[in-house]
């Protein structure tokens, strides 16, 4: 095998989706090796995200101009070895495989090596050098090596490995200069005179000889980390701190974000009212106010939660606490076939499934990410709360008690509990299915020393998450809102038609009720009536379910509109008086206890949320998983609602 294959500018060198014929340099390194920090320092805000063809692994690519040279830099997924054991790692192996049919091989590789874990990291360097591509090494965390009384002769290290070596700590500007100059010059990088061996026993001796010639002194145990871990990983104190930290985490996402969301909603509400006042045509005004502004508002409303979540998780990740939290929760999450880090994603889903699903990015394996994503939407999110409050309020009165406790509280608690247990059960089922597609991945997790997160990397993580959400998910949410608005408001009725039908055109509630009763959505509601008939839902409830696809809480206002309630946002009184229009139950109350219980359970399980569908599309990289999620949740929702209706019907 030849090492120098003409610097490997393979024919048809082209990055899928990035059609520039520019030289491409890929960053290779283990997780926690400072690879992404380096990538961000080099590319800044110019990075693009995409997917590798055929797999659901996120691809980060950025364009860098150095003097008058343009380069493409690609941040490959972090891996400890090129002998891949997961789909994510396979991407790295495939990208570096010159013979891979679909993935173009980069022109050169930049390997980041954490100077404090050099003994382990050299193992991968040996594998990377064996690809024969031009390689340069960036040593990171050399400041930490010195602080912990370790040392390395960088010049001797460069001679020993035979490729260019530079040190860059924390993406510092003055150290990036020489690196940028080196990157431009990639075609002139020397290849090692003697390639490192491939036989593992020989690799061990190669590593030893490199470490000896470069006078490597292994760093001392990080005293600070040892002392902090003695508390944070303590069976009692560590667990207490963990739950306290998670409580604060949840509170921040749940309560700190909601006033900001409230302001945004008021802002968009104000804009809507302005439009309704100033646009003469009632139909166009309503389209602009409720369809467009409401839709954009619905997208923007998620940003406070997403931004806060990513501030928190990037601090947790960069500081090293994420690994500790995962370590403490691993045993519990393993019961659901997941690993410790999935806990944070499921917890975030209690606020909203959108940040929850985005938080699965912290899971290294795509299979675990999918299993977690399939369970996360079942956690009781804040959008279910108004629906639950309305339905539970109709089901039992505030004075009803179960023993000493209010019945409403008991039902709410049960809904939260069943949601969480169902999420875990679903994740377990999907992780079992996932296992069939390959062997169980061994679990290992590096416990990096505690490090100070940089404001820059936290900021970039937040920016990246918000921008990605606005671009990819925003479109889906906005178009769903518009489609639903059209369904609920078309066809248009003239004042004359409404008066002929006996509607007082000056009564706003009566007009909305007439519009919705004769809308396309009502036709859909009637059309799907046979499907929901066994659950006791009539076409009016179906309209509410259809409308709630834009966001679950919309169910409340839509039912208010259907019932021509004076205040559509508090429709309980109006709904109490609705009666069944036809069939064997004609004349009876529509919202019987059985129907209410079935509706509650339906909302617990059904994926009534276009935003979640959109974010699943973005995070899993295809429409397959959102389709699977919507399908299985609908089937479970229908079945569980049917059974609940039967039981409650029999009891009442």
């Amino acid at each position: 095998m030849t090492l120098d294959s003409g610097h490997c500018a393979a024919p048809g060198e082209e990055l899928g989706g990035f059609d520039e014929q520019l030289p491409t340099l890929a960053l290779v390194g283990s997780p926690n090796s400072g690879k992404t920090t380096l990538f961000n320092a080099l590319t800044g805000l110019r990075a693009k995200t995409g997917n590798y063809p055929g797999v659901t692994v996120t691809r980060y690519v950025g364009r860098v101009s150095i003097d008058d040279h343009e380069l493409i830099i690609e941040d490959l997924p972090g891996t400890y070895s090129l002998a891949a054991i997961s789909p994510d790692e396979q991407v790295v192996a495939d990208v570096l495989d010159l013979d891979h049919p679909t993935l173009a091989t980069p022109d050169a590789l930049v390997v980041t090596l954490d100077a404090t874990t050099l003994r382990r990291s050299l193992n991968m360097l040996a594998q990377v050098l064996a690809t024969g591509l031009p390689v340069c090494v960036v040593l990171t965390f050399t400041d930490e090596l010195t602080r912990r009384q370790g040392s390395l002769d960088v010049a001797a290290f460069q001679r020993a490995v035979g490729v260019p070596v530079l040190t860059v700590t924390g993406g510092r500007r003055q150290e990036l200069g020489p690196l940028r100059d080196l990157l431009v010059d990639w075609s002139a990088w020397p290849a090692p005179a003697l390639p490192p061996p491939a036989e593992p026993a020989e690799v061990i001796s190669w590593i030893e000889s490199v470490l000896t010639t470069s006078r490597y002194v292994l760093p001392q145990i990080d005293e600070r980390t040892r002392r902090v871990d003695a508390v944070l990983l303590h069976p009692v104190w560590g667990t207490l701190v963990f739950f306290a930290a998670m409580f604060v985490f949840f509170q921040i996402i749940f309560t700190l974000a909601s006033p900001v969301q409230g302001w945004l909603q008021s802002l968009f509400g104000f804009l809507s009212t302005q439009v309704e006042h100033h646009v003469g045509n009632r139909f166009i005004a309503s389209f602009l106010a409720d369809g467009i502004i409401g839709g954009v508002g619905g997208v923007v409303a998620f940003l406070p939660q997403i931004a806060l979540l990513f501030v928190l998780i990037s601090i947790m990740e960069a500081s090293g606490y994420m690994s500790r939290a995962a370590f403490l929760m691993d045993r519990v999450m393993a019961k659901a076939g997941l690993e410790g880090r999935a806990f944070v994603a499921l917890l975030s889903s209690l606020a909203c499934a959108i940040p929850g699903i985005m938080a699965t990015r912290t899971l290294p394996s795509m299979r675990d990410r999918i299993s977690t994503m399939m369970g996360a939407p079942l956690m009781t999110c804040s959008a279910r709360l108004p629906v639950y409050v309305l339905l539970v309020g109709l089901l039992v009165s505030p004075s009803d008690r179960v023993g000493p406790i209010g019945a409403q509280g008991v039902i709410m608690f049960a809904l939260y509990l069943v949601g969480a247990l169902s999420a875990m059960a679903s994740a377990w089922v999907f992780s079992r299915i996932g296992r069939r597609s390959g062997p169980l991945l061994p679990f290992y997790m590096e416990m990096p020393p505690y490090r100070m997160p940089s404001a820059r990397s936290v900021g970039l993580a937040v920016w990246d998450a918000c921008r990605g959400f606005m671009r990819k998910v925003g479109k889906i949410i906005l178009s769903t809102t518009i489609v639903l608005w059209v369904l609920l408001n078309v066809p248009v009725h003239s004042a004359a038609t409404m008066e002929a039908a006996g509607v007082d055109v000056h009564d706003h509630a009566a007009v909305s009720a007439y519009t919705i009763d004769h809308s396309a959505a009502a036709s859909v509601g009637r059309f799907v009536e046979p499907v929901f008939q066994p659950l006791g839902f009539d076409w009016r409830i179906n309209v509410g379910i259809l409308a709630s696809l834009s966001a679950r809480e919309v169910f409340v206002a839509t039912m208010g509109q259907v019932a021509a309630a004076d205040n559509p946002d508090k429709p309980a009184e109006g709904l109490k008086h609705l009666t069944v229009q036809s069939g064997p139950r004609a004349g009876e109350k529509l919202f019987s206890p059985a129907v209410l219980a079935a509706l509650l359970v339906f909302f617990l399980y059904a994926l009534q949320c276009a935003s979640t569908i959109g974010v699943l599309r973005r995070e899993s990289g295809s429409w397959k998983w959102p389709a699977v999620a919507f399908g299985y949740m609908f089937v479970v929702a229908w079945t569980m609602a049917f059974l609940t209706g039967l039981v409650v019907g029999a009891l009442t």
Binding site: D97, T117, G132, E199, P200, T239, L328, P439, F443, M445
Partner: protein, 106 residues
């Protein structure tokens, strides 16, 4: 002694999974048998059923001759943190059992 077999493919060296060879060595125990604060020396990786997983343990620094120290257990006894090759790593007991070690030097 070959600890792991690696095949060589044309153009690019294929990194093959590991085949454990030290099976005939009388082993004194595995990482899973260690208690907090104990140190031991890695003998080999015994995971014939999962050669790719064994290869990964090797790449993580559990190479024959390496010194391993058991740092601590999680509150529910699993996973376990080990110090090897100058860094700390958590393994579930299931994987810790793969790595055979020489009797802890007490």
């Amino acid at each position: 002694m070959s600890i792991l077999s690696v095949a060589t493919a044309p153009r690019r060296r294929a990194l093959r999974s590991a085949a454990q060879v030290a099976a005939d060595v009388a082993t004194d125990g595995t990482l899973a048998d260690m208690s907090a604060g104990e140190s031991a020396r890695v003998l080999g990786i015994a995971a014939e059923h999962d050669p790719a997983g064994a290869r990964r343990m090797f790449d993580l620094g559990f190479v024959p001759g390496a010194e391993v120290r058991m740092v601590r257990k999680a509150p529910l006894a699993d996973p376990v943190v080990f110090r090897v090759a100058g860094y700390e790593i958590a393994l579930r007991r299931e994987q810790a059992r793969w790595v055979t070690v020489a009797a802890p030097a007490s």
